[in-house]
Symmetry: C2
Subunit: 348 residues, 2 copies
Amino acid sequence: MKFGLFGGAVLKNDGNSGDSLGYEPFMDIVLEAESLGFQSMFLVEHHFGGDGQISASLNLLSHLSALTSKLRLGTAVTVLPWHNPVLLAEQVATLDVLSQGRVDFGVGKGYRDIEYKGFCIPKEEAFDRYQEAIKIIKKSWTCRDKFSWDGVYWKFKDIIVEPAPFQKPHPPLWSAAGSDDSIRAVSGSGFNVLFDHFATFERTKQRLDIWRAACTENGRKFDPYEVCLARGLTITLSDKEYDEAIQRREARLSKMINRFGTLPGVKNERPNSYSDKGAELDDAALIGDPETIIVRLKALQEMGFEYVNILLPDDEKSLRRFSEEIMPELDDTIRQQTEVNEPALAKL
Amino acid sequence: MKFGLFGGAVLKNDGNSGDSLGYEPFMDIVLEAESLGFQSMFLVEHHFGGDGQISASLNLLSHLSALTSKLRLGTAVTVLPWHNPVLLAEQVATLDVLSQGRVDFGVGKGYRDIEYKGFCIPKEEAFDRYQEAIKIIKKSWTCRDKFSWDGVYWKFKDIIVEPAPFQKPHPPLWSAAGSDDSIRAVSGSGFNVLFDHFATFERTKQRLDIWRAACTENGRKFDPYEVCLARGLTITLSDKEYDEAIQRREARLSKMINRFGTLPGVKNERPNSYSDKGAELDDAALIGDPETIIVRLKALQEMGFEYVNILLPDDEKSLRRFSEEIMPELDDTIRQQTEVNEPALAKL
């Protein structure tokens, strides 16, 4: 099993980062994570929240690309409707060159009402805009001659987009997927898939089964490293710590639901998920002593998961303990078999 | 007198960089320049040229921000009509945070026909788009509450733009200016000014005189570090090297004129500038042995210039020789008097 990180830093306009990591401590923890054996950092991107979440994730990753040497640099996710797709293709390709091929480009169509409203983009256009952007970005990355684009949302005339990405034909594309239909669609698109950290183990297993079946239908070989599962992590050493962790997680998720009306990926699935406090929250996240977490990860591995993104903890201690006490207990036979320097590439 | 660098790297889609610096050699030379006493790197940004010029300059600067500690990181220039101004404000502010306040944000309205055509933006809208973008970017950087924007080209609703830049109230804004009118306009806007490396010494002196007079009219104190003059540099140690340098410069500029129909800043001033080969080219650039270049720089200092950006040479040798043999000969009294850790800040 291999592990990455998922999350971000916070810098509010008043200069504070609240309970979260500021930009500098965030960099420190990511560098430490690389040395501890974590293999990727998937960075969030959000706008206009007022809570200081990272807005320019590709710039942070460009900074990180100079400080790291092995870590893969991901977005989770870049919301395509907000961006000029050609400028975005240039930025991602540049990051791919700067990092010598370490980009994992996670994309989405957005879910937060304040972002649609802020950018004055009607929510009902989101999917069409997303689809048009994907086509333009792929064309920008792979077309070596001049091309023009006369779309619904974007027009370009006689352009050559430079630089070409380092990875050929282009960086792997990742998409979040929650519902059965969207899981099948992502499999069909040739993208890799990101599963969220909100769904229970049971639902998570269902999703993977749907993914496998869809891959078979699409004539796509199942590759466990093309499926990345996010999970919250809190290593607790006493009942008191355990209870506190559950409460913190509950408070955080309730706050998100209150602010954004939904959580990504679970909107139509579990509208009342977090009304039943405790048990279900516990079930989605990895909370407990190291032995408990090892058992839980082995259960995920049994389901077929080999790539887990840990929701960035606020302290280095948890990462170190995870690396020292938990990672070595997870069988990495598959990793050793399939790990090569080049990443699995997204299909065109 | 203080010195910076101006230029960029090249990476064509076929993976080559031709006679120019690739991304990695470019980084190496910039790091060396910082250690040699150069104080800034102003990076170009261009699109669709097919010759591999840097397209995502803020990502390269974000990478450089992790490798450098003192060097100021500039754009020369970011063409505002191509960018969503709010996303751009986020990116520049993020770079400013990552570099702890080292951003010099150079902006322009563009001049290349292939870029207007490529982005499908009518050239006649360029100035209005530029002006609207500037207003939105400044508001994004400085407004601490939600705001909305209902402009001609951009609309935003109830947004808080994060992060705030590190420099307060915001990074210095720089604008290129060539004609008398545009020099006066830039002075009036509170921006700092970039003078190009195409104009002769005589015209360059006129420009500075106009700038000074405009500052007086605008009630703005003349600060020599708010005026940055670009100059080509080739240190030649023989007549043969000198002749070759003149020829190379001529070929480069003729190529630009042929491709883009004009050079920035000199369009209506010297349409036939480069038909008279040799003398005039020699006059604009710093070409010659170290003694000659020292004399030329002292002439610029006499005019009132105290900040010169050297057009990035292709080799480290020239930079080292410049640093060792030329820099020490230029009086830095003013620098020592006025140099403080905080940069001069653009007015709101």
